[in-house]
């Protein structure tokens, strides 16, 4: 038990060296993947297995075993992924499908996928925008370098169609939609120098269809595509011209173990936390 406490403290101290905003000379990722961290995690796994082996078996110990072995399975799976997994990125044109068969690795190296990937049918949808109401700052009240306007209200084009713009009176939100351009107006001038300005729009969806060896696989955020042990994730897209999408791809032989370990640990902690202990009521 004391060995475990010392290990936890050392791991916490190591993590603190990476996140505390002092010095600023330490490269965070170098700490997380350092031999010291790997050694500490290996010792933690060994300690957890030792705890399970030396504990007297019994039905009431289920939570204990699940938590300790779950953590070991997570760390083992993560280690397998670290050693044998491949993760990289690829940028695919969506204006005109161009097949790619190599994955760019973080170290500027690349790896053969063994098949070709192209992208088509890119879609992006936006939520109705939010408009900010700006009013002129009263004369003599503008500080040097400051814009002569101040934001006095926020209105969403998602809700009611009629906005009450304080003393400027009612305003019909749908008037801001430009049918000709197929988009929401950027700025609308109002009486007495006030104006409504469109804030940046939040995307509600973006997705693309991958063409992998003739097979069509839809990909969007939270919905990766899978092909021959590779998983493809849509990361971002060209917001200016919508001409390409950025994907990451991963082949991780430790993935199943990590996910199984996570579920086992979660179930184990609930069993441990809600189990009645001797003299349980406080």
């Amino acid at each position: 038990m004391k060995f475990g406490i010392i290990l936890f403290c050392l791991i916490v101290l190591l993590l603190l060296t990476a996140v505390l905003p002092v010095g600023g000379g330490l490269e965070a990722t170098a700490i997380y993947y350092s031999p010291v961290m790997i050694l500490l995690l290996a010792l933690l796994s060994a300690g957890s297995v030792w705890c399970c082996l030396t504990r007297r078996a019994g039905r009431k110990q289920a939570g204990f075993y699940l938590v300790h072995l779950g953590v070991v399975v997570i760390l083992a799976g993560a280690f397998v992924g670290y050693i044998a997994g491949v993760k990289g990125s690829l940028q695919l044109s969506v204006k005109q499908p161009v097949a790619a068969n190599r994955l760019l690795l973080p170290e500027r190296d690349s790896v053969e996928l063994g098949f070709s990937v192209a992208a088509e049918d890119f879609q992006v949808k936006f939520y109705p925008p939010v408009y900010h109401l700006y009013r002129p700052t009263p004369s003599g009240m503008t500080a040097p370098g400051q814009m002569p306007f101040q934001k006095t209200g926020e209105f969403s084009a998602d809700g009611q169609d009629e906005w009450i713009l304080d003393d400027l009176g009612p305003f019909t939100a749908s008037n801001l939609w430009s049918e000709a351009r197929g988009e929401w107006t950027q700025r609308r001038m109002l009486d007495s120098g006030s104006f409504l300005h469109r804030a940046s729009q939040t995307p509600s969806f973006f997705g693309v269809t991958l063409l992998v060896n003739g097979e069509k696989l839809p990909v969007s955020i939270n919905h990766p595509a899978q092909y021959k042990g590779w998983r493809f994730y849509l990361v971002s897209y060209d917001q200016l011209n919508q001409s390409f999408v950025q994907l990451s791809a991963r082949r991780d032989p430790g993935r199943t173990a990590v996910i199984a370990g996570i579920w086992v640990t979660m179930i184990g902690t609930f069993i441990l936390g809600f189990r009645r202990e001797k003299g349980g009521a406080a």
Binding site: K2, P21, A281, A282
Partner: protein
Amino acid sequence: MTAFLIPLLIASAVGYLLSGILFLLRRNRIAIFVAGAAWLVNLAVIVVNGLIVHDIPLGNMYQVQGVLSLCFLPLFALFAVRDKLNWAGVYFAFASALPMTGAIFMDKQGGWKRMPALQSNWFVPHVLAYMISYALCAVAFIMLIRLWIRNVEQKEFRRAIYQILRTAFPFMTFGMLSGALWAEEAWGQYWSWDAKEVWSLITWGLYLVYFHCRKSGWARHADWAHLLAFLALLTTFFLVNLLPKLGSLLHSYA
């Protein structure tokens, strides 16, 4: 609709505070009644926030604080029934007033929309699990301070704190690990070593130190581990978002 919010927030915060004072005066029945009324007002705040954003209101710190406040009373009911911790009502009442009071002064932005990464079935369970665990950790911490400041029945207090943290920990574990499963689905990696993630791991590790100290020959150090764990929790929840140097890119919306 936002015009209703400030009076509702104030009414709820005052209700929780009043209930705490009544618990202190040992007027438990009326204290529970007042806490229940404050909780209903708190619920109304959540409903109004939800109507404003047309979604579950968990999009910014202000909205999350409202949900956090809502967690305390049902959790108190659980502990009162299951563990006979009726005497701990005062700690739950004062703890629930804190986030609600904070919410009064926060920017009540109404323009939040769920970006694609947040459109996951993990979003609500991940945040709610953390809120439940944070609520319980806050109560346990207030009880620890009380234990240190004034002479109280040490054994009974320590067991109550342990009981509360034992229930909090599975929710904290679920919050952290469900976040990993979600991140794997969204970005293809369970863990990005983002500042918020690392601080949540530090918090989790320090609570583990507390539990292991309590069961080992180092039980006398458990209180210190508890103190450090709660300080780490405050850093995870507040400071990571407030201090740019600790900044979190992946959790900039949370």
